[in-house]
Amino acid sequence: MSRRVVGPFNRVEGDLEVHLDIEGDSVNAAWVVSPLYRGFEQILTGKKPQDALVYTPRICGICSVAQSAAAAAALAKLQGLEVPRNGRLATNLVLACENVADHLTHFYLFFMPDFAREIYAGEPWFTEAAIRFKAQSGTATAQFLPARAEFLHLMGVLAGKWPHSLAIQPGGTTRGVELRDQTRIKTLLFSFRRFLETHLFGDSLEAVCSWRNVADLESWRSQRPPASSDFGHFLHLADQLDLENMGRACDRFLSYGVYPQDGGHLFTPGVWHEGVTAMFDPGWIREDLTSSWMAHRDEPRHPFSGVTEPDADAPDGYTWCKAPRLAGDVVEVGALARQVVHGHSLLRELVSHSGGNVRSRVIARLLEAARVLLEMERWVDEIEPGSPFCSHGKSPAEGQGFGTIEAARGSLGHWIQVDQGKIQNYQIVSPTTWNFSPRDAADVPGALEQALVGAPVRDGEVDPVAVQHIVRSFDPCMVCTVH
């Protein structure tokens, strides 16, 4: 058995290293290390509650709007504010734009380039994959970057800029939308739809969203050459490398629910495990500090009583990341979790067959992108220019609130407590904190730590490529993790 440190990882948005015990030709045990601490929860203490809208988006440059929306939701609860319909639609559009852009950024820039690595040079599929997906020089990057930049013009219209907008407020949004703005957004959405249909799917978004089960997907695949679309290309590579049997974690999926609409959410909240969907209760969340470089490790705490006090020499600590647990359990969050909880029949079938794995996580992300773009087209039509976008309230001198939403990479929550008009405690539990959490008091490893067990190691590999596929399949955001 040999012990090895792999890292730093790039294309993961932030800093990450992984410690591996390798036995023979596979990983025997893994420890996930977040090596950077930034102190946002400490910074927010003593600030005016509204200023959370300035600081929290800057936790993360890739989930900036999601952080902003979670802070706004927490403040809305604190103030007892309702968001008018227009404000809800505009917020949904801005958050969806970030989430869809992130899914595609992950696919084209962060995930696919690993198939163009030299270690695969002897594979029959290598040349085609390298031409398309090689980092920087691949034809896909050249097409994706301009499409992404243009799609983000939606942010220029609705949110001033991206990242780090202040447009999302507790009571709605700051940018009144006129008819010309609606027209502009519609044409931007059409242009991005065209990119997805031409390059990613090679088919209409409606066709992609009509797949009900694995047979539908396989029948679609059988009718075209694998590399005629980037999605088809990925499925082909996934078969060649057996990605379906790589990176399985706990198969307990959590979603806070996202995109509010009349009567609930577009994607419903819940917990899914072994075929059963249960209600989600935020009261069940605890953060365990057993393996974190943190003080105050007496017992796992709910975020409302959470404490963040770094201790670089904490005994048994190996990461700056805390270990969130839901009713004591490790959960996986992300697009796959969100869609399985919501009831996507194709993804549920995939998961019941082989669980959460590298292949099903990537499929879920891309199918969700297609679905959300269709919703965005609907939302922009539903905006009523001239009607209010924002309601207004005052922050109470004392009180508390929380906001739970879904970022591209999973469940994100903010908990705020206010005393004498100032923030007394602010706790953030971000998606990758769930997925990349360390071992807890019962020595149960986090989701990625579980997913890495059994990862194959090829002859002579120093930084095993399978480990890289598994790590990146979660679309990790380390800067959020180590807020």
Binding site: G7, F9, E13, R38, K47, L152, G156, G160, G172, F389
Partner: protein, 336 residues
Amino acid sequence: MKTSVASAPGNLLWMQSGGCGGCSMSLLGAESPDLLTTIEGAGLRVLWHPSLSEACGSEFNRMLDDIEQDRTPLDILCLEGSVIMGPGGSGKFHRLPDGGVMKDRIDALARKARFVVAIGTCAAYGGIPAAGGNPTESCGLQYDGGVPGGLLGADFTSGDEMRVVNIAGCPVHPGWVTDTLMQLAAGALVEEQLDELGRPRSYADHLVHHGCPRNEYYEFKASAEKAGDLGCMMENRGCLGTQARADCNTRLWNGEGSCLRGGYPCINCTAPGFEEPGHSHLETPKIAGIPIGLPTDMPKAWFVALSSLSKAATPSRLKESATSDHLVSSSQKGRK
């Protein structure tokens, strides 16, 4: 055909420390042309960038070793994110896999580079992580807030005898970065092109106020009162656009945006210390009803006198739109 730019290539290494990655995310949105075309046209080669490069782990560490041991020359070092000195000066809030800390690695690399560029306000001055009590002891490459020093020291110059170039902003506009990199590659960015805080003057000589679509409201002191109002945000909503050094309203963001166009105030994010204004970012501090932070280069008494005059002369069209989230036109009023 071999062009002159292609014959004078430079390489670029992009490191990250105490930041959010937002400057990279913003840069990936460069347009007309896109980022990769711009870099190629400038004759630059990306040695490594966290979002764009294949190499990670041992391969990446070897690349850094090659630079530190002079096996690979380095032309441009970019740092995104603050330099993390804590806890207690140890740098352990940002550890490296080999047991070292990031601040030492950045220091070593900076001493090998021909040019050192701070990407964003964090790398320039400390930025957001330095807010509150600065729990991570964050500073910039050559500044600690507005005070020269930082990691590399006030007297530091890089291989080509240049102080650190501070592309401040939270985040940076992609155009600020691509312009600066192109000018460095072409040898066009000389000392006189930087302002008193090391920022490229091509964007920092402007004010956010220039080109603000709310200028008419500003002239008549027709002020916004709440989030989303169309009026000038200086009097009540904390807007610092009249003092902030950047071209955000003449070089727009994501096509047609800016903070002010998005309906929220400028928080002066290109300035050292913006993260800790000493009051809420979203309210204008006042003494006896008069905002404290008036335009810096205008006598206060004049400003107050002009303001009361223009307030008295405000057309009703502006007065009403100023506190609405959509334009109230005189023709609409006529129909009512």
